[in-house]
Amino acid sequence: MIRFATLTRREVNRWVKIWKQTIGAPLLETFLYISVFGAALGSRVGDLDGVDYTVFVIPGLILMAWAINAFTNNSSSILQQKFQHSIDDQLSSPASPFQLLMAFTLGGFLRGMTISVITFLVASLLVDLPVEHPLILIAGLVLVGFFFAQLGVLIGVRAEQFDDVSFAQTFILQPLIFLGGVFYSASLLPEPYQTLTHFNPVYYMISLVRYGFLGQADVNVALSLVLLTAATAALFLLNLRLFTTGYKLRA
């Protein structure tokens, strides 16, 4: 337990020490989104699916903050340590592959959670943000955070240069999140975009979280939970395999 706690402490301390970059900047970004899309454009848009537009976008923004920060933290932390070879200190210790993977995962997971919780608390002060299904909301957000934390680990382990990480974030992650319906309801899209959205896994995640907050979902909630759990478990098992074999970590 000491090993795992120390490995996790190291990962958390890394982002706490540079909080202006890792917490301050994402928080500012999220509130700029709320200001621009919610307060400024929201007054023109009015209601969406029967909900005030500002309230409509906040669940997606909370999810986006958790997902992007969990991903970015883990991919950067692992790649940076691989570059400096400081990861060798952890890899040559008696810590098991499971302990190493969980610690790297939790580093980003907790950073994403911190930003999302602060966003939620501040947004709750600014607007009347309902939480219709708290258990579904917590389960959904935790699964989303864990999924993207795992994805960050995967990209960090595979990456050989910083370009690999930024490519994944800019060209894969952000388009999936933005086109998953953070700022709009997929039901408003014309064909074929509405159908195409259903092939985007983030669409189901956003629907799940929005259901937790607002009580309305475009998709089957139970099915979304099952699929998200299965996808997260599959990613975790893949990463565990990589840590066990030492893929791109050990020579």
Partner: protein, 272 residues
């Protein structure tokens, strides 16, 4: 400031010895490219020995160390650390090893104190034990004043000392020093020699790789030559010189790498 080796407690508490400190049998390391960095290395380092592993760049020294410490996976053969298999019983095997790598690899985000504290935690040391050991090692390596400073602010010599302190943090029974004095000034080199000699005298087995032959002669009681992924000779400094039919370890080494013409024994012999 000089190191203060006498301020540190013995490197590790006495424990039951269960086999040689390091036993390597027919070790092969083959990379996906097909390159064989190690080609059937066999070696035994007895408990308490100060063992030197010498060889030219690319001979396989670091690869063997990486295989022992889990930073590389052996393709064939076995490595046992005090009887524990380095692959199947890796946790017990690594528990006994302290590694000071060739290249400084300190955590940029950590202070000196945190580097040692994290390392102790990775090896399962309790908070109280870690705290005491950190204080002891920072003092021994004259880094107490830098306790709260980031590793990025340290001089090269301080980084090297902190790397050695980190390797000793969990009181390993086998200390592996991979070219520990590369690029350090004479003063620090002598201080490090003094410290590792004491650590060895207290019972810690040491495996040292170095390019400095006088370092191996000064410190090691057993030396092996590794070349092209194979152990080609082993013995004391005198035995190796005798084996290569020369008068010094340096000449034995030069003969091994095929550069006899560089021998200082020839200097002046054909001067006009």
């Amino acid at each position: 400031m000089p190191l203060a080796p006498n301020t540190a407690t013995p490197a590790h508490p006495p424990r039951h010895s269960d086999g040689p400190a390091l036993r390597v049998d027919d070790l092969v390391k083959r990379y996906p490219t097909g390159t064989e960095a190690l080609r059937g290395v066999s070696l035994e380092i007895k408990d308490g020995q100060f063992f030197g592993l010498l060889g030219p760049n690319g001979a396989g020294k670091s690869t063997m160390i990486h295989c022992a410490t889990g930073l590389a996976t052996p393709s064939e053969g076995t490595i046992r650390i005090f009887g524990h298999d380095a692959v199947s019983d890796y946790a017990d095997a690594r528990e006994s090893i302290g590694l000071a790598p060739q290249d400084i690899n300190l955590d940029w985000f950590a202070t000196c104190e945190e580097v040692l504290d994290y390392h102790g935690g990775y090896f399962g040391m309790s908070k109280k034990d870690r705290k005491e050991r950190v204080t002891e090692l920072l003092d021994a390596f004259t880094l107490t004043a830098k306790r709260k400073e980031s590793t990025r602010t340290l001089s090269g010599g301080m980084k090297r000392r902190l790397t050695l302190a980190r390797a000793l943090m969990h009181r390993p029974r086998l200390l592996i020093l991979d070219e520990p004095t590369a690029g350090v000034d004479v003063e620090l080199r002598l201080e490090l020699w003094q410290y590792v000699k004491q650590v060895n005298a207290e019972g810690t087995t040491i495996l040292l790789t170095t390019h400095y032959l006088e370092e191996a002669e000064e410190l090691c009681d057993q030396i092996a030559f590794i070349n092209d992924g194979q152990i080609v000779a082993e013995g004391t400094s005198e035995q190796l010189a005798a084996k290569f039919q020369v008068s010094s370890l340096e000449d034995a080494y030069l003969k091994l790498v095929g550069r006899n013409e560089l021998s200082r024994a020839h200097v002046g012999s054909d001067a006009p």
